[in-house]
């Protein structure tokens, strides 16, 4: 009897094994379905939509960069210089209150129709009127056409950063006729009347090198080459973006089953062989702030406390934590953008100086909480690890720091409300221009979160206004340097580090570069 029972079990197990064997065997036989060259990019998706008017997430930028052309763009990872895309050239007039863009007459949408100034005006007005995440990019801009291939953008205040805003794929140009036919509108009430997003999540209506084949915010996005692309022929017939965790990305690219992994940390790529590893400083900055509102804290408003903070952080230790490729950020503007301070002006760790400032503050050994969003990772660096390291270093100075991790929703609420005494946060660029960092000025968005009003530092507020209006590359570089020096000396911030942007690809890829805005440049990859 025992033999028979065991025999029955063996049959069951064999059936299971057969299923596995059948599928396992099949794995070797099946492959990517599409003909031609296929590029597979692994990414931990941060993706909501493919509609440029609503899109404002990192994965969305990668997708829309492949589907839509913008007026101007960046070449590779150089964010200091804009290059033509749909516009062959542009003029800056009236102290950067007026820009004229001249469209390339060769530009065609994927349905073969011309890209006209009407399409540009309609797309950009829709972006503003949708009142979505990216709408602020062109807030205050009056957009019009002065001919079939000429677009004029004017604003009441100078906007010298506009050419650096326009490469953002959220400003991608849509085929007006097609999108209108599917519920799109650029009317003032577009936020409630536009119904095109769902359609744009299943189809694309752009002039980029690829068209959308399928879109899922949780599994994969498939793009195929645009057969009517007006620029150089796309290198791949199919591009697939897959949503996978960083740990899996590493194994995928190492085994060569997928071509690119974009979310690996410097620690994860250490020792990887047989692949290309590209890394450099990302444009994301971590910073500490000490709230300047005395109602929130009597400690953090003490000017010597802030100096103790600045000299008490061991930046080298933080860089070690972030791994190879990370850099210390000398000011709030990342080193890869116009207007950044030279590395030589970065704060230097000096424990004795920090202790001396703390003694001068008269606070003794102050106790306070360091608030930060827990569970969030930026370029492989977690807020939790960074906060723990900062706590350890400030403990050596004589500060008693208690870590106050909060879920991102809760942390954002206290941060927005200016309720955090000492905070650890990150700023990722909305666009690669120093004007994006005027939010740190007193009375502006981040300034107010740090309890720092314009009346607290009127001179810096005036300097920020001047920086927002200054035109010319050299003049802007100078004024933004001055602005950041003022922030470093008198502001509530301690800029910490820019973690490394790492991209790993198979050896066969050409022109692979780490791109701090949209991970990799699909248009340059070969």
């Amino acid at each position: 009897m025992k033999k028979q029972a065991a025999g029955g079990l063996a049959a069951l197990m064999s059936a299971s094994a057969l299923v596995v064997g059948m599928a396992g065997g099949a794995h070797a036989a099946t492959s990517r379905a599409s003909a031609g060259r296929t590029l597979v990019i692994d990414n931990s998706f941060e993706l909501v939509t493919a509609d440029p008017g609503h899109m404002f997430e990192p994965t969305g930028e990668l997708v829309d960069n492949g589907l839509y052309d913008t007026l101007v763009t960046f070449n590779g990872g150089n964010f200091k210089k804009v290059v033509p895309d749909l516009a062959t050239s542009f003029q800056t007039l009236d102290n950067a209150k007026k820009f004229i863009f001249h469209l390339n007459p060769k530009a065609r949408f994927s349905d073969g129709s011309h890209v006209t100034s009407a399409d540009v005006v309609w797309s950009l007005k829709r972006l503003v009127n949708l009142k979505g995440n990216p709408s602020f990019l062109l807030a205050g801009e009056n957009i019009s056409a002065s001919g079939p291939e000429t677009v004029v953008m004017t604003s009441a205040a100078p906007n010298p950063g506009l050419p650096y805003i326009l490469p953002n794929p959220a400003t991608g140009i849509l085929n007006e006729k097609v999108v209108k036919a599917h519920g799109g509108t650029d009317a003032a009430n577009a936020s409630t009347k536009d119904k095109a997003e769902n359609w744009l999540n299943q189809h694309s209506a752009g002039s980029g090198p690829y068209v959308l084949k399928s879109f899922s915010t949780t599994s994969q996005v498939v793009m195929t080459a645009n057969p009517r692309y007006w620029g150089p022929k796309p290198a791949y017939s199919t591009v697939v973006l897959r949503n996978v965790t960083a740990a899996v990305q590493k194994l995928d690219v190492q085994r060569g089953v997928n071509e690119i992994a974009v979310d690996l940390s410097p620690a994860q790529v250490t020792g990887m062989t047989g692949v290309q590893v590209k890394k450099g400083p990302s444009p994301n900055i971590f910073f500490l702030f000490a709230n300047q509102n005395p109602k929130i804290s009597k400690i953090t408003t003490n000017k010597y406390f802030k100096l103790a903070l600045r000299y008490g952080v061991d930046y080298g230790s933080l860089l070690q934590l972030a791994g190879s490729g990370a850099v210390q950020t000398p000011g709030v503007v990342p080193t890869v953008f116009l207007g950044a301070l030279p590395a030589s002006e970065a704060a230097k760790f000096d424990l004795k100086k920090a202790q001396s400032y703390l003694a001068k503050s008269g606070l003794g050994h102050p106790s306070l909480q360091l608030t930060y969003p827990t569970g969030i990772t930026v370029n492989g660096v977690t807020f939790d690890d960074l906060a723990a390291r900062v706590q350890q270093e400030l403990d050596a100075v004589g500060m008693k720091i208690t870590l106050q991790p909060q879920s991102i929703q809760v942390a954002l609420q206290t941060y927005r409300g200016g309720q955090e005494a000492l905070g650890l946060w990150e700023w990722g660029p909305d666009y690669p221009d120093p004007s994006d960092y005027l939010v740190f000025a007193p009375g502006n968005l981040v300034g107010l979160r740090a309890g720092w009003t314009a009346s607290d530092a009127p001179a810096i507020a005036t300097l920020a206004k001047k920086a927002s209006e200054t035109t010319g590359i050299a003049a802007r570089q100078a004024v933004f340097e001055k602005y950041q020096r003022a922030l470093n000396s008198y502001g509530p911030y301690v800029p910490l580090i820019q973690p490394a942007q790492v991209v790993v690809g198979t050896k066969s890829l050409k022109n692979l570069q780490a791109n701090g805005l949209w991970f990799v440049d699909l248009r340059n990859l070969g």
Partner: protein, 356 residues
């Protein structure tokens, strides 16, 4: 009573269609009340979380623009009093409208139609694996009670239920994908391969229904690793329950009588032991299936399986109220349906059990 042979079942009262109808109507009524109760609890709990959906879903710059925040709150009805929001939700629910997800900008029902079948497919595979292996090994352990095989299986089942999911998932992934290359790394299909036409949303089933054999094999290929990992944890539980259940029955008088008639042990087990022993196993399997459906988040994350676990996690992180409510309702309905099916199965396995 416990010692009664299954033949007594023939004497049990038969379930009439009217009785079955009354039973189903009553259970569905209770289920409906439960679903409404669950919407209330989920709604209250979500609002008790000290967070702001606008802050969780809008970018920092957008948050600085009151017009954008206002438009967001208006779009999702967050500018209305909480009680009004709840009744609006119930009214829409009554019309089959689960609202629009704040994170995906799509109708929640569309999201659920995409994610729920993926998880059901995974959980079904896992439950089949765990029942086939767990019941088989449980019977062997019981039949060979006290022998080395029994000891080994008991230790194995203990390991099965106590090993951390993420660890097993990573180990299996590393071994079978990275080292051996037997299975793909994740997802539901190979990169770029189009899904079969939607019928059930379960790719293996839909591919078969469309007669697309290679697509079926591709989908099954992707299902095996996460399915087995998910099933491993239930195997241990099913094995232990089966062993205990079989041991309760295997030495009863009617079983000994069957042996005395000269029947082989396997025939005795199959004909006289398994049926009464399956009752508690049906309960365990039913509950396990429910927990598999609602507890797949880690496996889904590691194997890039776009199911409801991942969706639920993202909904919670983004304070996406319509999605949280949608997931809660779906999970509740699944549990209600599974419990109903288990009760019906009880009456089929043992007709002495009356449906009331």
């Amino acid at each position: 009573m416990a010692d009664a042979p299954p033949s007594s079942a023939r004497r049990a009262r038969r379930v009439t269609p009217a009785g079955l109808g009354r039973f189903l109507a009553r259970r569905l009524g209770i289920g409906l009340v439960l679903v409404v109760g669950i919407t209330l609890v989920a709604f209250i709990l979500t609002h008790l979380v000290p967070g702001d959906p606008a802050a969780a879903n809008l970018g920092q710059r957008a948050l600085g623009d009151p017009a954008i925040v206002k438009a967001f709150n208006h779009e999702y009805g967050l500018d209305k009093p909480v009680v009004e929001q709840y009744f609006i939700y119930l009214w829409k629910l009554l019309h089959g409208n689960l609202g629009v997800s704040e994170q995906s900008h799509r109708a929640v029902i569309t999201d659920l139609a995409q994610y729920v079948p993926a998880t059901i497919e995974l959980a079904l595979f896992a439950i089949v694996v765990s029942i086939v292996i767990g019941v088989g090994l449980g019977v062997v352990a019981a039949v060979r009670r006290g022998k080395p095989v029994d000891t080994g299986l008991r230790i194995g089942s203990l390991l099965g239920v106590s090993m951390p999911t993420f660890w097993v998932a990573l180990f299996v992934f590393y071994l079978f994908f990275f080292r051996l290359g037997w299975f793909p790394s994740g997802g539901r299909l190979n990169p770029g391969v189009s899904a079969p036409g939607h019928i059930t949303g379960m790719y293996t089933v839909d591919a078969l229904l469309h007669g697309q054999w290679s697509l079926f094999v591709d989908a099954l290929d992707h299902l095996v690793m996460p399915g087995f990992v998910l099933g491993i944890f239930t195997v241990g539980t099913v094995l232990r329950f089966t062993r205990a259940s079989v041991l309760e029955v295997i030495n009863l008088d009617y079983v000994r009588a069957a042996r005395a008639k000269g029947l082989s042990e396997w025939t005795v087990v199959r004909r006289h032991v398994m049926r009464p022993a399956l009752l508690p196993i049906a309960t365990v399997a039913g509950l396990a299936f429910g927990s598999l459906l609602s507890g797949t988040v880690l496996v889904e994350n590691i194997y890039s399986w776009p199911g409801i676990g991942e969706y639920a996690y993202l909904s919670a992180v983004n304070l996406d109220l319509p999605a949280i409510m949608g997931v809660s309702i779906v999970v509740a309905i699944i549990y209600i349906v599974i419990n109903l099916l288990v009760d019906l199965l009880y009456s089929i396995l043992d007709p002495r059990i009356e449906l009331r």
